[in-house]
Amino acid sequence: MKISGTSHLTPAPTVVFRALSDPAVLVRTIPGCRRLEALGEDTYAMTLAVGVGSIKGVYDGHVRLTDQQEPVAFRMHTDGAGAAGTISADVLVTLRDAEGGGTALAYDADASVGGTIGGVGQRMLVGVSKRMAAEFFRNVEAVLAGAPADLPDGAGASKPSGRASPGLPPYPSTAAPVPSVRSSVASPGAVYTPPPKGRGREGSTFARGVAAGAAAALAGALVGAWVSRLAQGREARRG
């Protein structure tokens, strides 16, 4: 299944890259992201709560990054497995200077979905994935603009003000990163969750962050699709 899309972000590629590299930002901007953990070099584990239409549920997934060409491209591999099926996706993300300023970001994914997760139809999987990716980049843009990131429960445009967003301090998009007290983020075991009380960004390498971010948006959508069956099952039993 091919999923591709583009997004325009106001800041320049380097700035976007930097933002995408920040796990603390990502955990705020990935739709439905509950938890992000650095497992090791270029590898993250994440927990997502996804809820779009009939697609609802919680998912644990992994992401690995390769082929980083800072600051213009990277390739990301994500996979997940669950009772309802398996997912794997390879995503190529590219950034370039957009005409008239800002960043033109493009993602191109080749996803394979196994098991009953595929049962809801390709158009639905693609539709949900694209919407979550778009929402992810909207959130990133908002953070870069210094606005608080909206953290809907993966509800996307359907619930634009889905929940009160933990405020983030304005992000100095031009200033150099300020090393945080937890500068050991790169090391395995570092855990990020959306702070009840918003905290500033944590320093980290581009790669992990971008990988986690793009992966989360896509994998979250894909996984959301298969957990939706569980949700449907519950609805049916209620009905």
Binding site: G53, T116, G119, R123, M124, R229, E235
Partner: protein, 802 residues
Amino acid sequence: MTLFGERVPRVEDARLVTGEGRFLDDLGQDALEAAFVRSPHAHARIVDIDVTDALDVEGLVAIYTHEDLEGRAAEPLPLLIPHPTLTHGRTPYALAKDEVNHVGEAVVMVVAGDRYAAEDVCDRIRVDYHLLPPVVGIEASRGGGRLVHDDVPGNVAAVMVQETGDADAAVDAAPRSLELDLAIERSASTPLEGKGVVARWDADDRSLLVHTSTQTSTSVRQAIAAKLELPVDRVEVVTPDVGGGFGVKIVHPWPEEVLVPWAARRLGRPVKWTEDRREHFVSSAHERGQLHHVRVGYDDGGRLLGLSVRFWHDNGAYTPYGLIVPIITSTQLLGPYKVGAYRVEFTSLYTNTVMVTPYRGAGRPQGCFVMERVMDAIAADLHLDRTVVRERNFIQADEMPYDQGLVFQDGRPLIYDSGDFPATMARLKDLVGWDDFPAFRDRARAEGRRVGIGLACYVEGTGVGPYEGGHIRVETDGTVVVSTGLTSQGQGHQTMLAQIVADELGVPFERIRVTTGDTRRFKYAVGTFASRTAVMSGSAVALTARLVREKALGIAAQALEADPGDLEIVDGHVRVKGAGGGTVSQVDLGAVAVLANPLRYAFDEAAGRATQFAAPADPDVAPVGPGEAPGLEATGYYSPTRSTFANGMHAVVVETDPDTAEVRILRYCVVHDCGTIINPMVVEGQIHGGVAQGVGGALYERIEYDSDGQLLNASFMDFLMPYATEVPTVEIDHLVTPSPLNPLGVKGAGEAGVIPGSAAIAAAIEDAEGITLTRMPISPSELFHLRKERLVEPVETTEGHT
């Protein structure tokens, strides 16, 4: 007392009229429900399908397009009836792939918690189309300027010619000749219950149970197994009560009959779809639409010497049912007549409209209209009575069986097996008082009223093969369980078949239970169409009952220590002939059923009599001998060499309003010959229903497309069906000429009533108005304008010259 020929009340009715019927939509209350996004355009390429806005609808489960289909489910639906002359047959995909060819073609399937949610999702799915020029109507299609299918030149699906002798030469050489252009417009079966499917997938058993409102459950079963690539024995199809079929439900598999089971398997949950009225109008099937050009040659006495017919048949966007409708038109057009040399050539044309498949009458109303218009035209030309011209061309009773020299829809020769057309005509003239009508007309005229009389004759090939079967088992309580594979749509099959079994087996009618259309009970059948149930399943269960009777007599003979030849079965008891009802000399069939199944275990008292120590038995004889089988049951089949031909003649008296041109039917008389009659009440019910649809086809029903292929009257507000207020009292007389082709001597009666409706009513209106009618149906406004044209014609011509 024999029940064959008796007016036995229908066993179905008490259940149906008290709301105990189980129709498709009564089933699957726990199922997810499907709805479809259908094309709003007659001809277009699908550019994009965007579901984004639909994702948030609560209850959405799945959205499917053609790209989700795999394997044979992604291939076009089957061409059910291939024919060598169908050189360009085309069938649709279950879900449109790339292109749509008529308004209503399914593009996206949505599955949701209920139909409401599914419809909401459909509303929010955006399909972008690139519009293509639509081809609507026969004239537009035969021009060939625009194509429905790029790979079908001239929009021609098939050209077929049949001839006996050199018809055109015969017409040219005839003392007198006429040319007529005639037209019948599009109509549709419009059963009150539309289509519907419920499918349950058993993941443990890897099997499907499908309920569908069809006229052929056995063939739907085969089609689903093929499309879903399942072993046939993993699929069972059950037809519940069906609220009318009239032909449209013989087509299969409908896209929904593939997609609903496919989705049920994919989702692992029951899925249901019930067609709504608009869906039925725009996505099922239509019929009737044909244009005919006729050349006929005859002598001064009105005897036909040659008949040459060329007609164009609008087959809609696809041809899954092959050429059956135009083939029937081209052969049954001949009616009860000897036409001399005959040539018929038809062209079956594609249009961007709903596909065309048989609707009760199946091409015969068109053929009958053409032939009977010809007869009336000859009578007018020669100033002869219309009945005289017909009588002079009838095939005579002593000429039966009569070979028309053509090939019929079953691929067998068109040979009329029996019938007495002159006798039928004589009865019709008596029934309607044909010879007294001129006096009646004069009296009416004196009162300023316009009345007219018309008649039409038809021959209907019924009981088309290849076969039907039956299974009969006598239970140990004496209940007789009968099953046949074809389906029922309310015709009274349970009653009619039980009457046959009651007589053949000698059991009380009340002890008989008949099941139809359930592949779990009977797996070999063809279907319910072509007025074939009484002929095919009736004969099959009769032959099967004789096998059961033979077995019962053999077993009872041992119990009664009598010769089977001395035994008879009366009222469910086997007894020695003429011995009366003494318990010693008789045994009931339930007991015979017990003895027919040698047992080791006595699960109840009756069973005890069949266990090993119950009675002394020959130790050297096997309990179940060679060639024998346990149980008092049998399976039998009936397969005829060819169709049997029923016939009938209708006469209609109409009155037309001098001001409003409203047409009122004063009398409707039917003389009907369907061979031996099993249940006159059921036959008359079929005739009443048929006449009602014939009246509808003549005066009310028509499918109206605009030039863009939009269906303008896809609702019962706009598509007029006759109500009780429009259907006249039908006066019926029966003539019985038994068929020599089947053991019961019966012929089909299901479609007969509809066939001559348009022909007879057109003739009656023509007689009342003095205006020649060449196309049906006719509305009051059309008649009004025909009157106007006749009056202003000279004025127009003078104006034309100024």
